[in-house]
Amino acid sequence: MAILVDESTRVLVQGITGSEGRFHTKVMLDYGTKVVAGVTPGKGGEKVYGVPVYNFVEEAVEEHPEINSSIVFVPAKFAADAVFEAIEAKLNPIVVITEHIPVSDSLEFVNYARMKGIKIIGPNCPGAISPGKTKVGILPAKLFTKGGVGIVSRSGTLTYEIADAITKAKLGQSTCVGIGGDPIIGLDFIEVIKMFEKDPETKGVVIIGEIGGDMEEKLAEYITKKGVTKPVVAYIAGRTAPPGKRMGHAGAIVAMGKGSAESKLEALKEAGVPVAEIPSQIAELMKRTLTQ
């Protein structure tokens, strides 16, 4: 099992001829990800590490009907167009790595994808990995190992940090999903946690949140109202961030009185979710809750 990406995932890389697309195509292939084809307008007919490149998503899918998901490395100016193209081809999920996409663009493709029942991971995210199965993203695979902890995070490197600690604690991960650091993103915490609930391989879930928005508060509300059967632990970054300033991620901003770390910590604690004070505690907390 695992969620979102697994052995059956067949990947299309959009923006495959750019430096990031090229580099990560290689890294994904080395990991064993089934990268089937790539798309860059105007570069049809080329090959990238043996992967054929097409001008249109439609062409790629006609030639390789097994393609079922996409990863987007297309620069921000053109990224929305690429995502719409993937939605029209019914690829699911679509992982959007690109940072700096205008919010108005994300609002459109995220709503369109939801209407069509297609899952968008990102934008501005590291993608997803199901260790031992596949990786559709840019996460450094050697920090991950197959196991029972699901991780869902708004951050990149902080996810690697915590995944590494979980690996070292011999717990391992079922799937790690970086849902993105932008204000408008596709999948949210609640949707991913619902998937982890249904996944038999996942024994517990780690939430890595940060300041900005109210996704953590909404998750806490969901846990309080609906309940979850699997243990959930959390870490929230940005306790020392000043209001009104964007902390690296476009979405990491305490604005209009909303999105502070305190509000998130309080909501999660009220929902009975243990929150780690420092990142390395996550592994301990998870171990403790899993053995209880």
């Binding site: 580099f23 921000a76 100016k77 700096h100 996409i101 205008p102 919010v103 108005s104 663009d105 609002l107 459109e108 995220v110 709503n111 939801r114 209407m115 590291p126 840019i138 996460l139 450094p140 920090l143 995070s153 951050s155 990149g156 490197t157 902080l158 996810t159 690697y160 940090e161 590494d164 650091g181 408008i184 949210d188 890595i208 940060e210 300041i211 900005g212 928005g213 109210d214 996704m215 870490y235 970054a237 940005g238 306790r239 020392t240 961030a241 000043p242 009104g244 300033k245 964007r246 902390m247 690296g248 991620h249 476009a250 990491a252 209009m256 009185g257 004070e277 420092i278 990142p279 390395s280």
Partner: protein, 381 residues
């Protein structure tokens, strides 16, 4: 990117939203002249990109052109929250019978645009939301569908403006048009007012454009690069180098890769009793050159008493980080303690480089944060 009030009002006016009669002045003489043209009491409004201008004394009512001159002289010499007043918006004083609130913004969790409206305006919307949430109506707008008539009706009814339906409807529609045309994070009028002449006028106007969309709005892009409102000089320098950087109050410089990890590093410094001087995210895959620049920015900052470097290499390579660090130390020659935590891609190579240069490193971010706090405390005592 925040627009000045006068810029926002120009856009409002171009979209048919009534704004007070007024003009922008760059000196006391111009201020006097505009006041004379208007021919009645005017408001002098400092054009600085900070919240709370009014409370800080940046908005003053004057009765006549002579008064406008002397008051303008004072205002032009003033700094409001650290920002020099360079422009005044000189506007007719409105005869207001009611203050209202209207804005269009993005609802992150609903993934929609949202209109916020209230029959009570003038005070901060955050305050209103906390004290009288029942006074605010929220109407979500699907970006693929746009605003529908029933939504317009709902907003107008809740604002209590049925009598002025046509006028307000025009304003609501214009807000949506402005938001789409300029990729806005916020279009706001607080207060939107009803005047004695029974007109609805945007007494104040705020527009925030999404920074990521500026490539579509060349007319603002240059201004954005020249003048970034509340940013400090250090923030500007770091931004020019392409770093995510935020100035803070403390003494520990923080460098890490990735926004989440950098925030977590700051939080750890605070947790162990220190205070972060800043947030510097070098991003993914930084070269030695970028690392050198990041370390230099820290060393040259007089507030920084010590630097924490926290690298977890994924696409970032530890050997590049180590090289950049050493180059910076050789070049800058400012002695400040640096504590390094480095792990991940090319860790061995990176550590070897540091060892050969006689620089020590730690394995975990907790150890490193604890250590830098101890060291910096030692320096300041």
């Amino acid at each position: 990117m925040k627009l000045h009030e006068f810029e926002a009002k120009k856009i409002f006016s171009e979209h048919g939203i009534p704004v007070p009669n007024g003009k922008v002045a760059s000196n006391p003489e111009e201020t006097e002249e505009i006041a004379r043209e208007i021919g009645k009491p005017v408001m002098l409004k400092s054009q600085v990109l900070v919240a709370g201008r009014g409370k800080a004394g940046g908005i003053i009512k004057v009765k006549n052109p002579e008064g406008a001159y002397t008051t303008a002289k004072k205002l032009f010499g003033m700094k409001i929250k650290g920002l020099q007043v360079k422009k005044l918006l000189v506007e007719e004083e409105l005869k207001i019978t009611k203050e209202l609130y209207l804005s269009l913004t993005v609802d992150r969790s609903a993934r929609k645009y949202v209109f916020l409206a209230s029959s009570e305006g003038g005070m901060e919307i955050e305050k209103l939301a906390a004290e009288k949430p029942e006074k605010i109506v929220k109407v979500a707008i699907n970006p693929l569908v746009g605003i529908k008539e029933f939504q317009v009706r709902k907003i107008i009814q809740r604002m209590g403006l049925q009598e002025y339906f046509k006028q307000v409807r025009g304003i609501i529609k214009a807000f949506k048009e402005i938001a789409s045309r300029y990729d806005c994070e916020l279009v706001e009028s607080n207060p939107l007012v009803l005047t004695e002449e029974r007109e609805i006028v945007a007494a104040d106007a705020r527009i925030i454009i999404d920074d990521n969309s500026l490539f579509r709005h060349q007319q603002f892009q240059r201004r954005f690069e020249e003048e970034r409102g509340e940013m400090t000089q250090l923030e500007l320098t770091a931004l020019k180098e392409g770093f995510s950087y935020v100035d803070l109050e403390g003494s520990v410089g923080v460098i890490a890769n990735g926004a989440g990890l950098t925030m977590a590093s700051m939080d750890l410094v605070a947790k162990f009793g220190g205070k972060p001087a800043n947030f510097l995210d070098i991003g993914g895959g930084a070269s030695a050159e970028r690392v050198r620049k990041a370390v230099e920015i820290q060393l040259r900052n007089p507030k920084v008493r010590g630097v924490l470097v926290n690298i977890l290499g994924g696409i970032t390579r530890c050997d590049e980080v180590a090289k950049g660090l050493i180059e910076a130390l050789e070049e800058v020659k400012i002695q400040k303690p640096i504590i390094i935590r480095m792990q991940g891609t090319r860790e061995e190579e990176g550590r070897k480089i540091l060892k050969e240069a006689g620089i020590s490193y730690l394995d975990t971010m907790e150890e490193a944060a604890k250590k830098i706090v101890e060291v910096v405390k030692g320096v300041s005592d």
